[in-house]
Symmetry: C2
DNA sequence: GATGAAAGGACTAAACC
DNA sequence: GGTTTAGTCCTTTCATC
């Protein structure tokens, strides 16, 4: 049985917001914040986990302080799917890897120590196909909180004239 | 006082690995896993948080199950910095936003409900400058665990001949 | 850094609305 | 679906080795 967005009420939305902000708060504290008793939130969180709405909980680390001076986005052109997947698996510097539509087949986010390290990683992918590397200068937004989608919130690209 | 990577020992590495895998384990359990007493791990985690190595803890949610059928990467060309930042701030669909080097100035990761919604979001950025949108078909790796950088682990791009 | 003790708070399961 | 209660476990802080 798949979870429908409509199954998620206002309490679930608040719970998801709080846990995306701080995943280590206790169930008692979470209950206080969303105005539910502790057993009630515990049960809701358990269901959100079971339904796969919450996939897990992760510590967010500072790449810079872990010794990775450079973050980069590498776009990888068309290449044999299995070979790219295998190369990604062999490359721990790849933090995120998406197979995408368009001229580039893959978009990789990598964390490397310095330029020499960047060269070493990018070269591995250059051998397969053409690549394009962009170094991250600045992060405007990271891991934004995502709430259940509500169609009412969409602002149409071109506003319809409402004859008034 | 900034943290140096050299300050992090093998225990810190294990702690960071465990907390990136599951941020909600108790300190007692974390202690068991890394073979330290509970007060010892608690103190180490506190220091990692204070030093900014651990930036926080987040629940990872499933965009699909929250009603976002499409994930996409939008590359945004050269445009006035402040205007792009302002537009990102006004666009909750943007999950990650990086200012990068290269022809594209910005790389945005967005989560949208459907094609109509995608159109609405992309159009907002098209007004500023040229954009290029790639829809995510498949995720090969997501939020890989990142451990303290160790230069010894780097494999040089071109292996040096060691005259032997 | 480990161990042990004590107080406070959090979790679990049950009974109940 | 929700709350309350009671028992158990975890966490925190202290002291000591």
């Amino acid at each position: 049985m798949a979870t429908e967005v409509s199954d998620l009420d206002v309490y679930d939305g608040r719970i998801l917001a709080e846990l995306q902000r701080d995943a280590r708060i206790t169930m008692a504290e979470l209950g206080r914040r969303v105005h539910l008793s502790q057993p009630a939130v515990t049960e809701r969180v358990r269901k959100l986990e079971l339904n796969g709405v919450i996939k897990g909980y992760r510590a967010v680390v500072d790449y810079q302080r872990l010794g990775y001076g450079i973050r980069a986005v590498v776009r990888v052109g068309r290449a044999e799917y299995a070979r790219v997947v295998k190369l990604i698996e062999q490359t721990p510097e790849v933090v995120n890897a998406w197979n995408v539509t368009g001229e580039d087949s893959w978009i990789l986010e990598i964390a490397v120590i310095d330029v020499e390290h960047l060269d070493a990683v990018v070269t591995k992918f250059c051998i397969l196909t053409e690549t394009s590397t962009s170094i991250v200068l600045n992060v405007a937004r990271e891991h934004a909180e995502v709430l259940p989608a509500r169609r009412e919130n969409i602002k149409p690209a071109i506003k319809k004239v409402t004859g008034r």
